[in-house]
Symmetry: C2
Subunit: 148 residues, 2 copies
DNA sequence: GAGGAAAATCAGAATGATTCTCGATATCGT
DNA sequence: ACGATATCGAGAATCATTCTGATTTTCCTC
């Protein structure tokens, strides 16, 4: 996680927020920085701990703004704590490994070849069902090393 | 959704519950019947409406029991209403199309060929990350016909 | 670089899906 | 039929998330 990356992220985030008539305040910068340092999606609590001077109510609101602007993405997991990560447009397409026991989330990627095949069939499935597809999510559930 | 199916489901559900030291009460039968009739995952509210004489607090508790026994599965969606469907062991492996607007969920399947290739890579990804994989979920997000 | 308008912040209150409590009821094995 | 245990129902409690209202910061214009 080199600093260059954070600079690039900040520039992209600022651009996205501006395009949506929002400001890239220091609180929002701290959120982006914390998500960047973490190598996996964070719960609100983890984010509040990791980020500098983050206040709960403001952070909830800022995450809504950041998600709306396309800077962050809410990751859906079975436990009832929302998790957030930087949007794939700012990082790269990936999937999640979710531990059934501790709830922890790790990233992984498919081979380009399989990912392409998958995309083709998914578009087809969407067409058949009358859906306009925006994205897909592929998650693995199991038990992580430390929980087994 | 022929009646034969429901008979088979009831037999399987009874077996699973018994194996877990639970009873297949009429309330639980009504839940299974309602989920069987619906062709997609139901929210608690939809389930209470669809099922015969279902009480909220009892239904929540019964869904936990049924999930523990492997009769039903909780479907994870972005909106904050839990959804449930019959477990894949009692039906068949499938995936979900989720509407970003109305939250509705539809089922679809991949070709066996692709599903097998996918399984292979996913096992591999789990091994690499030190996860023991139990299942995967593949969901499509987009806009359904009635919302576009 | 001062003034004003709009956006953002903070602390605490409100919301709402889900879970828990507890007394009453139904079910199983003997 | 009897006792032990599972289940039920109604309402209270929990807790992540959202909202509120007053205050502060930021940006734009002159």
């Amino acid at each position: 996680m080199p600093t260059d990356d954070l600079d690039r992220l900040n520039a992209q985030a600022a651009k996205l927020l501006t395009a949506h008539a929002h400001r890239f305040t220091t609180a929002r910068q701290h959120i982006v920085a914390a998500l960047h340092e973490a190598d996996s999606p964070l719960t609100i609590l983890q984010l509040l701990d990791a980020g500098e001077g983050l206040v709960q109510s403001t952070t909830y609101r800022n995450l809504v703004v950041l998600e709306d602007a396309g800077v962050v993405t809410r990751v859906i997991t079975p436990d009832d704590h929302a998790r957030y990560e930087l949007d794939e447009h700012l990082t790269h397409h990936h999937h999640h490994l979710i531990c059934n026991d501790c709830g922890d989330v790790k990233d992984f990627e498919l081979s380009d070849n399989l990912e392409n095949k998958l995309d083709g069939e998914l578009q087809e499935a969407g067409r058949t069902a009358g859906f306009r597809i925006e994205r897909h999510s592929l998650d693995l559930f199991g038990t992580c090393k430390s929980c087994s």
